[in-house]
Symmetry: none
C-alpha cells in the first residue's frame, strides 16, 4: 500500500513516515499543499494523510481540487482545529475522515485501515458480444456505440441471451426465464420477440437453430 503524507511540520512528517513504514506501508512525504496535490494526482497512492494548515495551499483546497478532478483516493485529514464546524467543513470538502491533533497513533492506524478497507467500489458487469453491449444497471443497450431502445421484454430477452452468449437457448428455456407464466404463454411469443430483437440489433447476430432454439453470436 502506498501512502502520501502531506505535512509541513518536518518532525511530525518524519515520525509519521517512519511509523507507517514500520507497518509495511510505502510512504512519501510532501511539505506543502502544491507538491502534495501534484503528487496525489499522479502518484498512484492508495490513500492520503493531509494536514489542513499548509503553506501555499490549505488542505481544504487540496481535497476540493482533487474531488473536482474526479480523483477519489481516500483522504484522512489532520488538523489542530477541533471545532465542530472545522471538522464538518473538512468532511464536506470531500475528506473521508478527520482527526484532530494531537492524535493517537493507534487511532490513526485503525482509521487508515478502515479507509483502505473500503477500496474502490466494484462496478457492475457490462455484458458484451462483439459490438453489442448491455448494461443491466443502466438498462442501456448500445450497438457499435449507438444506443438501441428496447422495451422491457426485449431487454430481458436480450440480457438472457447475452448471458448464454454463444450457446443455443431453447424456446422453453426462454419462456421459463424471461416470461413469468411459462405454461400460459405460447412458444410463438418467443418467436415474435426474437423477430423484434433482430430488427433492432441486426439479423445476423441472432441465429436460428432449427428444432433447438436460438444462438447469439458470441
Amino acid at each position: 500500500m502506498r501512502l502520501l503524507v502531506v505535512e509541513d511540520e518536518a518532525r511530525l512528517g518524519k515520525a509519521l513516515q517512519r511509523g507507517l513504514q514500520a507497518e509495511g506501508f510505502v510512504v512519501d512525504v510532501a511539505a506543502d499543499g502544491l507538491t502534495g496535490l501534484e503528487l496525489a494526482r499522479h502518484g498512484g497512492y492508495d490513500a492520503m494523510i493531509l494536514d489542513v494548515m499548509l503553506p501555499g495551499l490549505s488542505g481544504y483546497r487540496v481535497v476540493r481540487q482533487l474531488r473536482a478532478e474526479e480523483r477519489w483516493l481516500p483522504v484522512l485529514m489532520l488538523s489542530a482545529k477541533d471545532g465542530e464546524y472545522d471538522q464538518a467543513d473538512g468532511l464536506d470538502c470531500g475528506a473521508d475522515d478527520y482527526l484532530t491533533k494531537p492524535f493517537s497513533y493507534v487511532v490513526l492506524l485503525a482509521r487508515l485501515r478502515a479507509l483502505l478497507r473500503r477500496g474502490a467500489p466494484q462496478r457492475p458487469a457490462v455484458l458484451t458480444a462483439g459490438d453489442l453491449s448491455l448494461d443491466p444497471a443502466r438498462r442501456r443497450v448500445t450497438l457499435a456505440g449507438a444506443e438501441v431502445v428496447l422495451t422491457a421484454r426485449e431487454f430481458a430477452l436480450l440480457e438472457y441471451l447475452l448471458r448464454r452468449s454463444g450457446a443455443v437457448v431453447s424456446k422453453t428455456e426462454l419462456l421459463d426465464h424471461v416470461w413469468d407464466d411459462s405454461i400460459e404463454t405460447a412458444p410463438n411469443t418467443v418467436e415474435v420477440y426474437i423477430g423484434y430483437l433482430r430488427r433492432k440489433i441486426g439479423r445476423e447476430r441472432l441465429e436460428t437453430v432449427r428444432g433447438a432454439g436460438y444462438r447469439l453470436a458470441g
Copy 2:
C-alpha cells in the same frame, strides 16, 4: 436515504431519529443488538449508526457478524468509551467510523454524509449531473448556476436519484429509500413527485424507463 439507528437508550434514540428525519432521512430505530443485526441484514439500509453498549449483543459483535456475512453497509459506531484502543477495536471489527459520546450533532451529520458518499460508486461532496448540482450539506440545488427551490420530499428524491445517477431506479426502490412507510404508500406518489421534479429541473433530465423505473441523465 434509509438509516438504521441501534441504540438502547430510548431518549437518545428518539432524539437521533427526530433529528435525522428532519434532515430528510428515513430512520428506523432498534433498541438491542439482535434486532439491530436482523434489521441490518434484511432492511436494505444505506447506513447504520450503532451504539457499542447494547443489551444482548454488543455493537462490536454486530459489526463483526455483519462483515462475516459479507454485508458491507457503512457503519458509524457510537460509544462512551474514548480510549484509543476501544476506538481502534471498533474500527478493526469492521466499523467505518467511530464517534465518542458525548458527540456533536453537527459532526455526526458530517461524518454520516462522508460515509454515504464513500459508499456510493462515485463520491463527490456535491452531487452533480450535467448542469444540475445538489449539495447535501447546504441543502441547495442549482441548475445551470441558478438556485432551484425544492421541498423536503423533492430534495430527498432528487438526492437519491443523483446518487444513482445514470442507473435506472425502480419505484419500489424509491419508496423504500425516500419514503418512510413504503408499504402504506402508493406507487402513484412517486409518479406525482417525479412530475414535480420534472417541472423544476427540466423534463428531459429525468427519463422514464417504462416497466423499470426512472433514470436521471448521468
